[in-house]
Subunit: 225 residues, 2 copies
DNA sequence: ACCTGAACACCGTTCAAGT
DNA sequence: ACCTGAACACCGTTCAAGT
């Protein structure tokens, strides 16, 4: 853990030699990743490491507490290192939101793989959405906050996946006569809006989590004939 | 504007004597409020001044850019002065959100004063809500973000006003047979959730503002029989 | 009671320099 | 190409001190 200390006064710096004889430096020795066996986080996958750490931070402390310098420290790189992968803090937040839409899409996909007819699928998707958005409250917030910003195109593309999946389900439901008629894009948008809104109510403590089942049932009855 | 300059090196400090012969000091002379006629902001209504400045900042630059030090500078008090009125930055944000619920309530009240029957009132309230939440996007975000926090009781109480108003409208609509049946609390919650969700979609640029009319119409058709 | 000024411990961002 | 270290210009928060 402590193999040597530099002589310079005021500079808390330690070095360490791994089994490959590479010198690893850092201000925070305790945080240095082992370089020998499973390759260090940095040099190759800093981006992935940053996203993983950021996601944990987001869930555990919220977006406001997410500091690039903290993440860099946790991973064991300099505070300027993240810049190569995320030029700005907002870029990291955008990447998290983008990943959030991808995860949401796969959650919805899983819900659609369940047994039962279309009505059952609608119910399953609705439940899955609200579950995802309440279990990942800070992430859901991030996913739906002001994308009126240059460079947010990727994010909007990522959002298109779950929305497209929802649209397909709506089309299927309408053709089978289990869902209300009308423009499927509009109905799909209203459906997601309702679900996101319900999640917001729970996340903001305006509605209680225990009410969610009943609220979902009320919403379900409005969409399914 | 510049009446004198202190001699101290490295200290950029100017003083100014107003018509009441009070010496006003500050690092940013251009921002100093006139002390003579209309009484300065500070000394009496700093809280109000802070909220007003914060509201403008929220609208113009978003919550992330809202800095207590900035507001203090703009108003012309020391950076530590806000502390008396808002012990923490979060306290200021909470106060903004609280005010937001009060403003929303009065907006809904106004919508309910329009002509027409209950169905028309429902439509008016729905439109008014979404209009408010899209014209005050950053504020709406603030109003629905994690109140799972000690000291957020006042905020939840403030939220009760517009929700109560919505509930009354739902009860009226149900008794007149223009709204779907079921638990009025649940239906009211789903209604607000739908509206807030639609506003989120527009604010996040996932839906376009031009679609709002159609989306509202689709939502309206789901609640009104 | 309300505000000031200095201080502390952070930030995000930039940039020359290293390998 | 990717990372470091120092530097810059900010923050929020705290606290003794002033009036």
């Amino acid at each position: 853990m402590r193999e040597g200390t530099s002589e310079a006064v005021n500079v808390v710096m330690s070095y360490k030699v791994d089994s490959d004889y590479n010198v690893v430096k850092g201000n925070n020795v305790g945080m240095i990743r082992r370089v020998s066996d499973d390759r260090p986080y940095h040099h190759g996958n800093l981006r992935t490491a940053l996203l993983a750490a950021a996601e944990r931070g987001l869930r555990e402390r919220g977006a406001d507490e997410l500091a690039l310098r903290d993440l860099a420290r946790e991973i064991g790189v300099s505070h300027a290192a993240p810049r190569r992968h995320f030029p700005t803090r907002q870029a990291l937040l955008d990447a998290l939101a983008e990943d959030g839409f991808a995860r949401l899409d796969s959650v919805l996909l899983t819900a659609l793989e369940g047994t039962g007819g279309t009505a059952a699928h609608v119910r399953a998707v609705m439940t899955a959405y609200v579950r995802f958005a309440t279990e990942n409250a800070a992430l859901a917030d991030l996913m739906y906050t002001s994308k009126h910003r240059p460079g947010a195109e990727r994010l909007l593309e990522a959002a298109a996946a779950p929305f497209g999946r929802m649209r397909e389900l709506v089309l299927r439901g309408q053709s089978e006569g289990v869902l209300r008629g009308g423009d499927p894009d509009r109905l799909g948008m209203v459906l997601i809006a309702t679900l996101q809104g319900l999640a917001s109510m729970v996340n903001s403590a305006i509605a209680e989590p225990e009410q969610l089942g009943d609220l979902l049932e009320t919403a379900f009855a409005q969409f399914v004939l």
